[in-house]
Assembly symmetry: D2
Homo-oligomer: 380 residues x 4
């Protein structure tokens, strides 16, 4: 029998929608021990949150997240607010005995993250961070291929996340939908927002990173702040790139920017191993590029695998449609909920846990520190 799992969502922006969609859909496609129930959504504006609740079918609303945490009818809290609020809410939720699903990045920095880890670990509550790209089927398959030993010794890992939505100098910083441009709310710019995704995938696929040398840039130095109404110095990094050495001896190259004209959300990674290589690209997320040196010589080539189920062998895809028919961005969230509920039934953690996501935070810290100091910096 499927048991209900009562969800309390805090924040209802872009991620609030993506998560709500995942909760609503997961049981239509996956047989699971739990069924999410959209119990309550919380945000400061009662009017707005009411409209959201109606659209998505939440049973009730709150305007104070502390009230939400006091409610007995909530099993799990989903944190979808700006980064500077993650720590306080997560720790309070853990103390209230709630499971915690936290949007990425985990925290403003590693120190905050460590506190959050201790809170959920002490409370013994299930916890996970929404690094959703791990569950794009092509990415999950990359992980499988690596674990099957198909790549052999790894020489190179490179990743970038390119966007172009902040090139205009007229774009304000801060305010509704723009908190990612406000250092106070976001902590950092592309490093926490975009590189964090690249790093999470990288350490999952290729293991830990030892040290980094980084460079950041803020191309537009001042922008009007929506809240103050004044032109203020921009505190975030518009672009960040770093070189690194992985613990397995491979070399890493990472870059992220919001100033790459022509790219909306181009997250790509490539891994070069002794025996095989893999590439992936978010703009065509249903494909995995694969080169196998073991192939017969004259037929060796990059294969563009359409990861849409071949006899059930492609991760997650047997739950969806028929071979050849692609899924999209939002499905990665459905898969994360499915895995979370599956793990709950088995009493197993769902990766990445807070503790696992903390590793990404430490690397982000090292990257930002290196960019300031101009020195190679060890990951803390």
């Amino acid at each position: 029998m499927t048991k209900p799992l009562n969800i309390g969502l805090i924040g209802y922006g872009f991620m609030g929608r993506a998560h709500s969609n995942a909760y609503r859909r997961v049981n239509n496609f996956f047989e699971l021990p739990y069924r999410p129930v959209l119990k309550v959504v919380c945000a400061r504006s009662a009017e707005s949150v009411k409209a959201f609740a109606e659209t998505w079918g939440y049973e009730s609303i709150e305007t104070d997240w502390r009230k939400l945490l006091e409610r007995k009818d909530i099993d799990a809290v989903d944190i979808c607010v700006p980064n500077n609020l993650h720590k306080e809410i997560a720790i309070a939720a853990a103390k209230a005995g709630k499971m915690v699903l936290c949007e990425k990045p985990l925290s403003m920095n590693a120190a905050e993250g460590e506190e959050m880890c201790q809170a959920v670990e002490q409370a013994g509550v299930a916890n996970t961070v929404w690094y959703n790209y791990r569950r794009v089927p092509a990415v999950t398959m990359a992980k499988q291929l690596i674990e099957e030993g198909r790549l052999g010794r790894i020489f190179h890992y490179r990743a970038n996340f390119l966007q172009d939505w902040t090139i205009s100098a007229d774009l304000p910083q801060g305010g509704a939908g723009l908190w990612r441009l406000d250092a106070t709310a976001a902590g950092s710019g592309v490093t926490g927002d975009l590189l964090a995704h690249c790093i999470d995938t990288a350490i999952w696929l290729n293991g830990s990173i030892n040290n980094v040398t980084a460079m950041t840039e803020t191309f537009i130095k001042e922008r009007k702040h929506t809240i103050s109404g004044k032109v203020e110095k921009v505190g975030i990094d518009d672009a960040c790139a770093f070189l690194c050495r992985f613990n397995n001896g491979s070399l890493g190259l990472f870059e992220s920017t919001r100033y790459a004209r022509g790219h909306k959300a181009l997250y790509t990674f490539e891994i070069n191993g002794e025996k095989a290589s893999i590439k992936w690209d978010l703009h065509d997320l249903h494909r995995l590029e694969y080169f196998d040196h073991g192939d017969e010589g004259k037929l060796r080539a990059w294969r563009s695998i359409h990861v849409t189920d071949h006899g059930g062998e492609h991760p997650y895809m047997s739950h969806w449609w028929v071979p050849g028919l692609q899924i999209g961005y939002e499905h990665s969230f459905v898969h994360q909920v499915a895995d979370f509920l599956e793990g709950l039934g088995k009493g197993q953690p769902t990766s990445p846990t807070f503790r696992e996501a903390l590793e990404t935070q430490k690397i982000c810290d090292a990257v930002l520190n290196s960019a300031k100091s101009g020195q190679w910096t060890d990951v803390g």
Copy 2:
């Protein structure tokens, strides 16, 4: 205020799932005058249909579609059964005053289709046929570009729909999930199943077809029939190709097969106009290829448009996520439901109506007749 629209679904196969998913999701993403309510699902096996109802949240089940039609609490009937049952159910539904949403192809042939058209027209009930590919955003955008006159005089239209799932001689014909291989249930093979999609899009984008010359083939002549248990002659066409002339003077080339190794569901079309050309491909359905001769000479090139919302200008996409994040196959059904409900609110028909879909049926008839006679054949 959003009004409920009570749905009765007949059949729960692949299309039953796709439609149910669309009904459940549409109001999360679109503001509409109606909200589908999953009132009842009907199929012969009570056990199976119960499980389906539970998964998808249908309130009740029926095992006899006539019972479903008698119910007062049903506003709209959705027909997802094999083609040979469309006519009887659709006509009865219309007579019962129900709206009818019918899976494609409309019917076994044009004669049946004509009866169905008359039934819904006489009853004055809303009706539509699920040619879902019209509502893939890239395809809808192709339609817009043509209507804006960007292509100019059209010279060529070519389309194909290539699959490879029936190459094995061991695959049986008929039975659960395989009725598409049984001529008695399906009427034809790839012509009605796949070419019908190509034709629907073609006449929507490029206008009516005057005459055709066609060729069909059945590569595997005999297959075991699941129901009889015996090896029987295969009655369907495994492959079908035809040349045609459109009423606007352009030339058409169409092909479909289930024997094109390497293609799972490769529906592609290309239109060549005097001023511009367009290409599309279901395997990367979020992209539209566009060549504009009006571009500056040295920069003329095919553009690979990532149809994921640029400032709300890409059809349907402002309802989904953010630029760069792709949607998938299933969203085309959500869009069709959205348009149907929108049309209902305005008292407008939703294209393709039965009458519009009948045109595709007439072309399929001409194609199959030409393949038999070896003659150029006028569309009836």
Copy 3:
């Protein structure tokens, strides 16, 4: 020791350049028993042909091809003049005991071609037709893969050759560089010019064609004729498409046009076999797309083979640069000369001979006849 082979070139247009280039380069890259010597080039205008001879290093010129044929110092005659002159020159050359290399298509029609075949066969002179695309390495490799049995039973063959250079109604017909638009000089339009290439490759790769049903169109009905200075009816086909059945049971689909906006010289073909499929495209001629159903399930995919030498296994490529560095269009002609000279040394014919190229002519005739009659037509 490498022996000289004295070449007499008749005509110096686009093909005259391509062939001259091939003669000049072949011994730099291939070890061969013969070395082409550019002895004489012939054309009506002494002034123009002198300039050409100087650019390309021809030792002498002629302005009357009959004089060229009388010369004792010429071993081989290369025919690069409009199609309507092929027959007379080829027959006279054969009678003069010269080897004959003839630009494609062989002739204006099969009847002419038959006379030409008889002439070279009776004279016992080496002969070949410049269907150069057979010697693009990726295409040669397609032939090898088929001969190795990797595709198994063939189900489908489709090819097209798309251009867009005659869309403007202001383009005149006939005259220098435009004889391909003049039915008197060219015999047909795209059928002989472009489809002939597609057909030659097809019968080489997939065997003979039994019968066809075709459609042609002339979109611009009248054009100014450069020679007469008057607006005259256009006699050529601007576009031609046909369906066919191959002798091996597979289905064929061919199309060619000069009205496909956005395509300069897009010759593509695809073959679908029971076990594997192959695709190729002239716009990226150094790549071969290959899908092998024998690959492990989850890794099955189209491979984009960069045909630039992997350990010498890619046809012709070990003669050029290093892996990863592509060659271009002109190299196919170099390869044909290399094979011709190699064959000469061994006393073996070089494919396609006149007799082999005659088959293409017969199919073109059947296609044009079918387009006129509207009937399925057997290949003569």
Copy 4:
């Protein structure tokens, strides 16, 4: 009238062939004031160099490059020997009053390069370095687009050059064809061999580089040395990556390796400007990817420009075939010879001169120094 320019080639490896081919072909396709005459080729082994001279049509041979420099009948010396010999030969050639065409990289390091620059400048002889990729038409066109101001302010430049031919530990270092793996002969590994290309293009397109932080790695620490016959420590860098800041404020990211499985010669670069972006890739060198933000919103997309002549507007392409027909790798050398001869006629230098190529050498030095010191390093 075309004047002869007598060439003396020193070295006859891969580059010796590429240059010889360029000299032989250039006047067939370009109208030029000079015509290269293959006067002499020089190498230590008389037997081998004779065979080369015969294949390529050199009139004579030498086995001592000093003898070659003494010859009065030589106008220009082309240096195609390993890097450690460039300096001595180039300086001696300049002193002998010969023009000097030197294979890249210019020298083992900037200090050597400076001496070479002074030598050619004092002698007043024409000089150029074979950074051939500048003359791939798509790359030349990138330069034009930038100079036309189409990209606006530049934010990002990224480039890599990926190969996979040294992954096997069994590959020896040094000896014929393998001097690139011997630090004594090559100076560095991928930095001078591959990154030098990336850097040359980058500073040509995007201006000078201020400072760098770099990382190198030697994955296989010991290899058998062909000359000594012993297993010796490998002195070259197998991989090198660096971050940098350009003088125009843009950020740079460069990487090169011979351990990227699946890439034979994948040189790619991408430039992101405020108004437009450009991408290029050596594996499909006839294409330029271009994104123009000035395009109408819903049609904005990456264009894949097939740089094969549209009305003569694509650089160099009007000299070759017809639109749609691609050229290959070797043509970039033909273009460099054409430009060199053209420049000679006008008394203008041909870019990159020794002095211009020295800039690349300085950056390579800074990169290698930074990799050793772990510090950000200014370009000298």
